[in-house]
Amino acid sequence: MITEAQVAELYTRYGHAIFVRCLKLVGSEEEARDLTQETFFQFFRSRGRFEGRSSPFTFLYRIATNVSVDRLRRRKTAGEQLSTSALAETPGSAIAREAERKMSSERDPGTFDTIQTLARLTAGLDDETLTIAVMSHVDGLTQDEIAEALDLSRRTIGKKLKRFIEHTRQRAGAEQVEWPLSGGVGGAGPEDEPREGRKAHG
């Protein structure tokens, strides 16, 4: 039986980090709070999968990424896509403004134009692969940073990213959309391979 004390302890430690993660992906504070609760809800409902083998943070982080991307997939109208105005209106959120700036003008050529595109192309991926892909192509983290943050080996990160690329390429071909990682549908190039050691900060 889950007690409120257990929930409160975990929320105190990781609640803010999860909220920030959700906010960055969905761009709405209200939605981010809702997704934060959803993240903790799924965590406690699927505790059996956690098994304590890693830090609760990594598990929560994966869940938060997944529920956020899933929320993005459900958005149907263009107005519901990542809204810079919504980000700007986030109360007291300098983080949101910085995210808006980054996503609108400073995005690397290899990253997705929108998180919405990523959300659509990553449908069907497992939570872990999706999280790694988002951390790599949206957050701009290197494989080493991802491996460190998620307590995974770098080799695992590489495999997951490779799988992610194959998956999105197939999806892009099926949907006849431009494959965002190489500038063409089904195209392949140096950008296909996960970047190593690239610093995404700034």
């Binding site: 889950i2 007690t3 409120e4 004390a5 257990q6 929930v7 409160a8 302890e9 929320y11 105190t12 430690r13 990781y14 609640g15 803010h16 980090a17 909220f19 920030v20 960055k24 709070r33 609760q37 903790f40 809800f41 406690f44 409902r45 830090s55 609760p56 943070f57 982080y61 007291g92 300098a94 983080i95 910085e98 995210a99 980054k102 951390m135 957050d139 701009g140 983290l141 940073e145 460190e148 943050a149 610093k199 995404a200 900060h201 700034g202």
Partner: protein, 488 residues
């Protein structure tokens, strides 16, 4: 949030910084982050900002409030079943639903349900072994096939016409009387007990009589036909198949069985002789009907003469009988004709039992088969299943008719007890329509009730050719007869 704040690249990502703030780092990771914080002024600034934002966040969304909401939600919302779980549930749910529908459907249709396999009626006809022992045997014969009518006992001084026709000691005079329709015998189907057949049967036979009245030679004058005029107690009871009656009369049954289709087993009544007065009166009626073809003034049998199931006691049946005297006369003639046929039949002679003794005489009369005919049956003849048959036998106190199931297991069709050494009639009905296999009938006559061993004696149609290895008590004499019921 280094990547968001635009600060120079640091070896510590925001994720690691968040883990550091949350106290989630251990060992080498913790040492590396702390070292980076100490070496990188910007990182320390980011750390402070993150801590302040975290405090603000927890202030706006208190942990206890969040925890309460989450626990409430966890309590209310159960995990939805996965799709595979739903699919796994489908087959058993489907099967259970089908079974339930089948049970309800079968119960709604009752014993006439088409889904009821015909072969299972064998079990329905079987009697417990114990039920055939001792005086209670006739009563226990309730699980036997329902006989159509109860055979009327012959007049005093005469034997059953059919029985006499095949018995070595049969007298010519008696046969003559039978040919004139005077002998009640196995085919003179009017009697106090058969009069009380149920109203359903009566209505059916009434229609049959109307149809056959134009062709008297084919008239079905079996017990059913007569029963239409009979009156059981209450007017619609089935007479003649109740528990072992007192010496003078048999109580009528209260409910009429369904006609021709898997009837509930009825007990076989031990035949009793009628008082002479009733027989005499009956003979005179038959004579009058046969000779004059005119409705002789018919005197309803008194309760004393014909027992409690007499026509006079049936309010409806009596009136109908009174309205159709000509029809009644035709039936009488037909009965006489059948009796004559049975008498002249030589194919059902006395049969030597397995010990070589010629001890019994027997005859078989179809009181009504599924085609509506009443006639004598020859030994070895194949008759339609579901035929109503009367086996008349003499030579022992107890007469039992046994059928052999396809798997060789014998079962009792009917049993009757003789009174005073008179011929015994065992009314019975072959397996109902829908039977899949032929079956042989055996008649066992003895001075003690049959105790039957249900071990298989032989299989199928060849059973009649096999020694009848029935465990018969005492001085039972057994022999193999007669008819086999062909599937319709």
């Amino acid at each position: 949030m280094a990547e968001m704040t635009g600060t120079p690249a640091t070896p510590v990502s925001d994720v690691m910084l968040a883990r550091y703030v949350a106290g989630d780092l251990r060992g080498e990771q913790l040492a590396r982050v702390e070292r980076a914080i100490g070496e990188t002024p910007g990182l320390a600034e980011r750390l402070e900002r993150m801590k302040s934002e975290r405090a603000a966040f927890l202030g706006s969304a208190p942990p206890h409030q969040f925890a309460h909401q989450l626990v409430t939600r966890l309590t209310v919302e159960r995990p939805a079943p996965q799709k595979w779980q739903v699919w796994w549930l489908l087959p058993p749910v489907t099967v259970a639903t089908a079974l339930l529908i089948g049970v309800v459907y079968q119960r709604a249709l009752g014993p006439q349900s088409l889904s009821r396999p015909a072969v299972t009626t064998d079990e329905a006809f079987e009697l417990p072994e114990d039920s055939l022992r001792g005086p209670a045997a006739p009563a226990a014969a309730a699980s036997e096939p329902r006989p159509e009518t109860k055979e009327e006992s012959p007049p005093t001084g005469t034997k059953s016409a059919v029985a006499e026709s095949v018995a070595p000691k049969a007298s010519a005079g008696a046969s003559r009387e039978t040919s004139k329709g005077k002998g009640a015998g196995g085919v003179a189907m009017r009697g106090p007990s058969e009069d009380a057949v149920g109203s359903d049967v009566s209505r059916r036979d009434e229609r049959a009589r109307k149809k056959d009245s134009a062709a008297p030679s084919d008239l079905a004058s079996g017990g059913l036909g007569q029963s239409a005029q009979g009156a059981g107690r209450g007017g619609d009871g089935v007479g003649g198949y109740a528990q072992p009656p007192p010496p003078t009369q048999a109580p009528a049954r209260e409910q009429a069985p369904p006609v021709w289709a898997s009837p509930p087993p009825q007990p076989v009544e031990v035949e009793r002789r009628r008082p002479p007065a009733a027989d005499t009166q009956r003979e005179s009626e038959q004579d009058a009907a046969a000779a004059n073809k005119a409705p002789a003034p018919r005197q309803e049998p008194s309760a004393t003469a014909a027992g409690p199931t007499a026509r006079a006691e049936k309010p409806n049946g009596g009136g109908r009988a009174a309205d159709a005297p000509a029809k009644l006369a035709d039936e009488e003639k037909t009965s006489a004709r059948v009796a004559e046929t049975a008498k002249s039949s030589s194919s059902t002679p006395a049969v030597a039992d397995d010990r070589g003794e010629t001890v019994v005489s027997t005859s078989v009369v179809i009181s009504r088969d599924v085609g509506g005919r009443a006639r004598a049956v020859s030994a070895g003849e194949v008759v339609p299943s579901a035929s109503l048959i009367k086996v008349v036998a003499q030579g022992g106190r107890y007469v039992t008719v046994i059928g052999i199931r396809r798997d060789g297991v014998p079962y009792v069709y009917g049993q009757a007890e003789s009174a005073g050494g008179q011929p015994v009639t065992v009314p019975m009905r072959l397996r109902p329509t829908g039977a899949r296999v032929s079956e042989a009938l055996f008649v066992v006559v003895g001075d003690a009730p049959l105790v039957m061993d249900k071990s298989p004696v032989g299989g199928g149609k060849d059973a009649a050719q096999l020694p009848l290895r029935l465990a018969v008590a005492g001085a039972q004499r057994r022999f193999v007869l007669i008819v086999s019921a062909a599937a319709e």
